[in-house]
Amino acid sequence: MPMPDMSWPDERSVSHVRDSFSLISLRPPRPILALSAGAAGLAAGPAQARPPMWFFDNYGAQGRQLEGITWGLLLLSVAVVAIITLLVAVGLVLRARRGGALRDDRDAVRRRDETGAMTAIYFGLGLTTAVLIAFTVWTMDTLANVRVPPAEPAFTIEVTGRQWWWQVRYIDPQNPERDFQTANEIHVPVGRPVKLLLKSDDVIHTFWVPALGGKTDMIPGQTNTAWLLADKPGIYRGQCNEYCGLQHANMAFRVFADPPAEFDAWWEAQRQPAPEPRSPLTSAGQDVFVKNCGVCHTVRGTIEKAQYGPDLTHLAARSTLGAGIIPNNEGYLSGWISNPQGIKPGVKMPAIPLSGSDFTALRAYLATLE
């Protein structure tokens, strides 16, 4: 079965990504609210990619729990609106009259027996109350189900929201020497729950991967706990959901759900520091990096403890740049380095003017950061 994929930007241009990747649609979302042409667009043919932030047909254990009650509420809503609209429309059809001047319409005002009408009102109220109580109970049940993961999380990912990117730290509670830091891309093992510690370094952000589960705020001064459990391999989009300033719109990230063996291999690879440059070009590139980028960016093995910007130790293995907004390929990377403000105006990374040869060397060096 092809892997569910909800990713973009267009992956075909990203050469290093796995081949098992394709843009195939899955079972289309139930056209519940076919109220707009948007629904027609979604229900169209199979060559269409699923909207990445669609959260029904969920791929996470938590997200699936939330699906049921959300559908129920939406169905209830449609039913209620339909009933009320019908009552108003039919009432008008049955009772309305051609308007004359109301001034002369005096006889229409007369005493009418309201008993039947009052009974109807009480009935409506009673029905409303019963339905609402049912949904309250359903809600509480769902909340209890999503409070903790179905199994003990094997490890923890601490994500710190920062304007406008994601600082990620993998923590192995059993073996602290396995801990490592990365940014803007998260990998999780399929079928194994992961604990999330959510923090913020500056303002309030929100961690949200709709295809896997609900969202949780990242609030400075406190640590919020959440959990993730991906059921199926795939690439899932996340985006910040609390207005956090100028580039809130461009603060996204990707979650890769890998089969467990692949995930373990990924962890091992990410733990390693960057390899020493082998060629004169990459060596020169490393010098350029240290001089121009090392103030903000850590590359373990080259520069440590630079905390202003994302950790770039394994930059070349990342699928996107700029916090999930552009693909990580040569063209975009060059564009990002030379003119980040043009892509993400207001981003805290300044444009660094480099000579042509420096630039080539730097790119070569960065390409070694697998």
Partner: protein
Amino acid sequence: MSDDPFIRTPATGPVTPELQDRLEKIWETEPGLFGWLGTVDHKTIGIRYLVTAFVFLLLGGLEALAMRIQLSGADLNVLTPEQYNELFSLHGITMIFLYALPVLSGFSNYMFPLLLGSRDMAFPRLNAFSYWVYLASGLFIYSSFLAGALPNNGWFNFAPYSLREYNPGMNMDFYALGMIFLGISTTVGSINFVITLLRTRAPGMSLNRLPIMVWGTTTVSIGNLLALPAVTVAFFMLWMDRTFGTHFFDVSGGGKPLLWQHLFWIFAHPWVYVIVLPAMGIVSDGLPVFARQPLVGYTLVVLGTITTMMLGFGVWVHHMFVTGISTMSLSFFSGASFIITIPSAVAVFSWIATIWLGRPVITTAFLYFASFIVMFVIGGVSGVVTASAAADLQLHGTYFVVAHIHYVLIGINLFGVLGGLYLWFPKMTGRMMGEGLGKAAFWVTFFGFNLAFLPMHWTGLLGMPRRIYTYPEGAGWTTVNVISTVGSFILAAGLAMVALNVVQGLRRGRAAGENPWDAPTLEWAIPSPPPPYNFAVIPVIASRHPLWEERLDEGTGRSSLYHGLLLDRGKETILTTMLDAEPDKIAKMPEDSLWPLITTIVLTFGFSGMLFQMWWLTGLSVAALLGCILLWLWPQRSLEQTARPTHE
């Protein structure tokens, strides 16, 4: 007995031309600039509120249209991120604070004394003051345009982004101080409505005979008095953090960002009921006029109004479902948010029952009122969906919520207001608005609104977050956004047609007469437009629908509309007891006065001093303010506040 000048038996009599002339001279606004600046006539003040509120509606609408253009395609660059963020912030502030309540205050201000059978509000000078402060604070906030420093953190203004560390410009200071400033207007306005309701009703207008709009406005005014200080405290703390380095919200000093959210939402959730309950009241009073049937279930609707406001204080945490609170908190506030649906649903059933029992005549006003029911329910059910904390974990912060808020704000507030406009335009101006254009404008507005906002439910399900200035092509959000943009422009066109309808009505509408709709309540018993004194004689009320009494045969006895208290020895009206409206006291009403305006100007200087940190200016203004209040409240002989009576 007749020796005591402070006590007299008030004279009663019929309405005569001589009485009307005499009262006109006593009550009319002073001529010239003094009268224009110093009037205390609630009708003039009401119209000023309405006009100013509609201007802010226009400004907020233009802001929205700019945003919709930016969002009509992926990765557009029509607006810079900064511009978009400022626009969405100002749009929210304008609509929620500078339009939504003031427009309802405008109607209430104009209508309260007319609905209650009184000659003016309880505090006429305070009334004028509340308008001037509203205008001044609105201008204060909008002057941020001149400084190029518009509020840029939404209307909800979460900390820490609002602190100086992340927001060093004056943007937040304009907003914080402007809101405290505006809060003064809202507070004194609320006090005025409450006391007017409790004390100045006509004899016989017991509480169970009040129009629902009066119940609605009074209920939310009491709610205001209790809720507004939360946001005043919050903005004051924010301003202190930004200006004097206190640490209410800043984490490094032991502050708590969530304190802002609690204080803000403790205010802002009741606020959303404040801006819809009076509109629901307008519908509860207006629908029966055209349905030719009194509101079915009056008592239930009144209880529902009050209960909704009270419960509204207990649900604020549903705005904070994803902040990491305990499951118990989630359950409690989710349950409370579900429960609050019940008292608000009462009105829906009541309106439907009224239509079914009556014989509706479909006028433009009725179209607004009837469609209101459907849109109220759409807004209500999307609220029910997000009331479930489980569903909200996905839906929070998405366009689903945007759809919800616009259905309740436009569908309830604006459509109620437009219905009220068509209902009361004849009374306020003496002219009728054209029905043909009115109905056409309604359909365009209705269609445009639904085209813009109904798809947004879908947009939210597709996962589009709020408050983003752009989105990528592959997100699947483009088509729905285009549709919403098209709808928003159609909505704008519809509202432009309404405006045209108003202008044409003013110029060429045919004469309305006293009661063109054959409506039941008191305001339709006096000329259109009403004379400055409202009622030539204070009526005595015997039922809920004085002008339909004979036909409905409800209640004991008949109201006396044209034979009653003259109260013509100066500017006078009657004060009655709280529950049963028995005559209690003759109140003397103040003349036109410039103190409200002068005090407003002093306050403006004071707040400007705080904005620019010119403390000497603030200090001077405080001193001047105290002087103004002293002189304003100085006991006046003419108001019978001093030991020497006016009539000896």
